[in-house]
């Protein structure tokens, strides 16, 4: 056990610091059986697994094991559709179940995406890096949902699972009839031969005993009947009648409730706590001190018979914290530091082509601007929570998590059990956005449950704790410089970013030994070093800073700020060149036909160039992220009181092809509204080492009344270009709105949230 844990840790280190090349040839070339059954697979009577990806019930229902977690993005529909297509089952018979934890369901695609190469780089180095990193992902075996990778990762294997199961069902029918399998046909859950037919449900027991074909033939996409349709989501009905179960809804017999207060200053420790008054309060059972770990903050937890009682008792605690070195941390000083670094420090180079610095110091006119964004909280609607029971050497966890495998690994220590004694249940996530990739609440809940000696406990953070103890989208600042060529195109471009590293942050929280500045975190400069625009001389660098504020993955990660920097500045460059911002971009995309088509689609559908009322403007922005290309045109009205009202957003996306166009459109709407909240409202600021915002009034959200009309147009470029959709809708909206504000008012806003002077 110890040995295997050490190996895992080393593997994490290898994967996360990009040490993929260290992995030996044996592992590299070892074929992986992705259709096997999960370890310990057990199913109810009358149901059989057919490969590790689906079970067929006596009633004909097809239950697909979904390896990714549903947090709103639609994976419990899109992934079963892949299986259904090749299985030839009736889509109405589809059900889903979240897959158990097993390396079979690992997400290697997400890990492979972490290599810092441009998406259009298909050189040998980039290829080897991606393949190596993919292998590391397979070896790590982590089930994780993120990086808009679920459909891309499932695309091959889940279609194969459907095809393999179909072949096994056909094999069983053919054997029963004594005919050749090749002569049998399948349609809507029935195998037929001549005038004989059998339903899948009648064949499943025999089919499960058939050999699993490893490379089953897949359909010609021209024959798709399920993939490509706007099939209704399988999770929607339960989300309209209150029956959908989230982590917070878990009820275990005998369960108690815990509330928590964490040290208000990052990195502080508990000095002393007098819990006498709290313990005397109604319903209070226990008060626990929780030490700071690399994963979680120092805290005091109250366990009671009701969460309300636990929460009320927190107010009666007499707590003193050692605030430590960060007690004076404040946003103004941080901004000053970043500005200084921007001026003086050289960053790590993410892309250098030509002689950008020479070109930018030559005689030509150089345009220059500074952009910045603040820290942001995720503010998932479901506050952070985790339910745990530690009993008889076993630990059971119920948590809505983006990384259930990590839950298993991270809970074991504080629960005091071996990793293989941890069972993880994964209900729906009430929003994820990267926040639920974190393990802080898991470590805390496991630690509390261990001390409750067999009594299950649900730990629930208040909204205030959530907002003040998030792993924030990094604050970032950028300086951009540009020189034009004689034809009005871009000759040279220099983009320097200052900020923290999300990947470094999460690595330090999960496995401190593996954290290192040597790691080149792609996410810090994504959306900056990988642009499709023609820029013959360019330099993109990132100055890494360490700050006590913990940072983590926030929907679209580095793209969330780099798109604002790049597309805002590009708009300035266009205007200074006296060019239309759409036409200017279009000209720069002459060598990038997919990007150009997306841009053109958005502009056309938005009526770019048509007249608008006074104080109204259109802005355009384009961003490629997670293998999808998105352009948005925002139509903005600026009120006499300087309020910005976004009336309409037209969005075009090329995600290759849409597995479910309805879900793609919904994800574009979702990404846009999420990004709009950041553009118009979002800012986490610090004073005296504390986060100043605490709940929705001080960290406000776009509401229905402020929500624009949104239309999405899907640009088709083929299955070979499959891209993600959960995140790519977010990056372009802030610059599109800022550019529209400029069009409406002539004021250039270079800082989020947007505030008109």
């Amino acid at each position: 056990m110890i040995k295997s844990r050490t190996r895992r840790r080393l593997l994490i280190a290898a994967g996360l610091v990009g040490g993929a090349f260290l992995v030996g040839g044996y592992f590299f070339y070892r074929p992986r059986d992705r259709l096997r059954l999960p370890v310990g697979a057990a199913v109810p009577k009358g149901v059989a697994w057919v490969t590790g990806w689906l079970r067929i019930g006596a009633d004909g229902s097809v239950t697909v094991a979904v390896p990714r977690q549903e947090m709103g993005q639609g994976v419990t529909t899109a992934l079963p559709m892949l299986v259904a297509e090749e299985l030839d089952c009736d889509p109405a018979s589809l059900r889903f179940a979240q897959a158990p934890i097993d390396s079979l369901y690992a997400n290697a695609t997400m890990i492979a995406d972490g290599v810092p190469f441009r998406p259009d780089d298909h050189g040998w180095l980039a290829r080897i890096a991606r393949v190596s990193q993919y292998k590391v992902g397979e070896l790590l075996g982590v089930q994780a949902t993120g990086g808009s990778s679920s459909v891309r990762d499932g695309w091959e294997v889940m279609r194969q699972a459907g095809a393999a199961a179909r072949a096994m069902l056909v094999g069983a029918a053919a054997a029963r009839w004594g005919v050749a399998a090749g002569e049998c046909r399948t349609e809507r859950g029935v195998v037929s031969y001549s005038n004989r037919s059998l339903r899948y449900a009648e064949l499943v027991a025999e089919a499960a005993r058939q050999p699993i074909p490893q490379q089953p033939a897949l359909k010609d996409p021209a024959r798709y009947r399920v993939i490509g349709t706007a099939m209704a989501r399988l999770d929607v009905p339960a989300k309209t009648d209150g029956s959908a179960q989230f982590g917070i809804d878990v009820r275990v017999p005998g369960m108690r409730y815990a509330a928590i207060v964490q040290c208000p200053v990052f990195g502080g420790t508990l000095k002393r706590v007098d819990a006498a008054k709290a313990k005397a309060m109604l319903g209070v059972l226990e008060v626990f001190e929780l030490e700071a770990t690399s994963t979680s903050a120092a805290a005091v937890a109250v366990v009671a018979d009701s969460w309300w009682h636990a929460k009320s008792a927190l107010g009666a605690l007499d707590v003193e914290w050692n605030e430590g070195a960060n007690a004076r941390l404040d946003s103004a000083a941080q901004r000053q530091l970043y500005a200084n670094l921007l001026a003086d420090a050289e960053g790590r180079v993410y892309e250098k082509v030509g002689n950008p610095l020479v070109e930018l110091t030559a005689e030509r006119q150089v345009l220059q601007a500074r952009y910045e964004v603040p820290y942001l909280a995720h503010a998932t609607m479901e506050p952070i929570n985790c339910t745990a029971r530690v009993k008889d050497g076993r630990c059971e966890i119920w948590v809505g998590s983006q990384a259930p495998t990590l839950v298993q690994w991270l809970a074991a220590g504080p629960a005091g059990v071996d990793r293989d004694k941890v069972t993880v249940h994964t209900p729906f996530l009430g929003g994820g956005f990267g926040r639920r990739a974190e393990m802080d609440v898991v470590v805390q809940a496991a630690s509390i449950a261990r001390r409750m000696a067999g009594t299950p406990v649900q730990l629930l953070w208040s909204r205030e704790e959530d907002m003040q103890h998030d792993l924030y989208r990094p604050m970032a600042m950028a300086q951009l410089r540009c020189a034009l060529d004689a034809q009005g195109g871009i000759r040279a471009w220099h983009h320097r970013i200052v900020g923290q590293s999300c990947t470094g942050g999460i690595t330090a929280r999960l496995q401190p030994l593996a954290a290192s500045d040597l790691m080149k975190d792609k996410t810090t400069a994504e959306g900056a070093f990988d642009l499709a625009y023609a820029m013959p001389h360019r330099l993109v660098e990132h100055v890494l800073v360490h700050q006590p504020v913990p940072v983590g993955f926030w929907r679209s990660v580095g793209h969330s700020y780099n798109a604002f920097f790049v597309e805002g500045f590009l708009d300035e460059v266009a205007h200074s060149a006296r060019r239309d911002p759409y036409e200017f971009r279009r000209a720069l995309l002459a060598g990038a036909p997919r990007h150009r088509r997306v841009l053109e689609t958005a502009a056309l559908k938005a009526g770019w160039g048509t007249p608008l009322p006074p104080r109204t403007g259109r802005g355009i922005a384009l961003a490629e992220s997670f293998h999808s290309i998105v352009a948005q045109v925002a139509e903005v009205e600026v009120g006499a009181d300087k309020t910005v009202r976004v009336k309409r957003v037209v969005c075009a996306i090329d995600c290759g092809k849409a597995v479910n166009p309805g879900i793609v459109a919904a994800q574009m709407e979702s990404g846009i509204v999420f990004g709009l909240t950041a553009a118009l409202h979002g800012a986490i600021t610090l004073k005296n080492g504390r986060v100043e915002q605490s709940n929705f009034p001080s960290y406000d959200m776009v509401r229905l009344a402020d929500s624009p009309a949104i239309e999405t147009h899907i640009v088709d470029s083929g299955w070979e270009h499959l891209g993600g959709v959960g995140e790519p809708g977010t990056p372009p909206i802030a610059p599109a709105v800022a550019n529209a504000v400029f069009a409406a008012t002539g004021q250039r806003l270079r800082r989020l949230p947007l505030r008109l002077g």
Partner: protein, 155 residues
């Protein structure tokens, strides 16, 4: 111990009557469809109907609702607009993560009871709940659809 009239049934809540209704519903009565979001009536995830009025149960003391009819999402079928609202929610494929949707649905049921054919401005004023997944454009469409369906049914 307070006696509450929830979804047409009289039920005992173990919590003292100064505590918010939300926790009695979720913990004492097992009605977890009503959600906790902010604890300060800012987000609307905890919206239930009290006497037909949309009420943010996270700040509503139990004492204030004793004897009044309370409807949660689990008992929403007893309210006339609910079936149409639910159908519209499914037709427009509104929910994503789904966490805020109980509150959205209950706020909509209350709106349609009071204004069977709401304008966009009525919707803006009534639906102030927060959805982090950005389902707002679909909620607006679904409300109009439900209103139209209800009007057809009434004719």
């Amino acid at each position: 111990m307070a006696k509450l009239m929830v979804n047409g049934v009289e039920r005992d809540a173990a919590l003292e009557d100064t505590a918010p209704l939300l926790w009695a519903l979720r913990e004492d009565l097992g009605l977890t469809g009503t959600k906790f979001g902010c604890g300060i009536a800012a987000c609307g995830a905890c919206t239930v109907l009290v006497d037909g009025q949309p009420t943010r149960s996270c700040v509503m003391p139990i004492a204030a609702v004793i004897g009044k009819p309370i409807h949660t999402i689990e008992g929403a079928a007893a309210r006339k607009p609910y079936a149409a609202v639910r159908e519209a929610w499914i037709a427009e494929q509104v929910p994503q993560c789904g966490y805020c949707q109980s509150g959205m649905v209950m706020a909509t049921v209350a709106l349609l009871e009071q204004k069977p054919m709401p304008s966009d401005a009525d919707i803006d004023a009534a639906i102030t709940n927060i959805c982090r997944c950005g389902t707002y454009p679909r909620i607006r469409k679904a409300i109009h659809r439900a209103a139209a369906d209800l009007a057809k049914g009434a004719r």
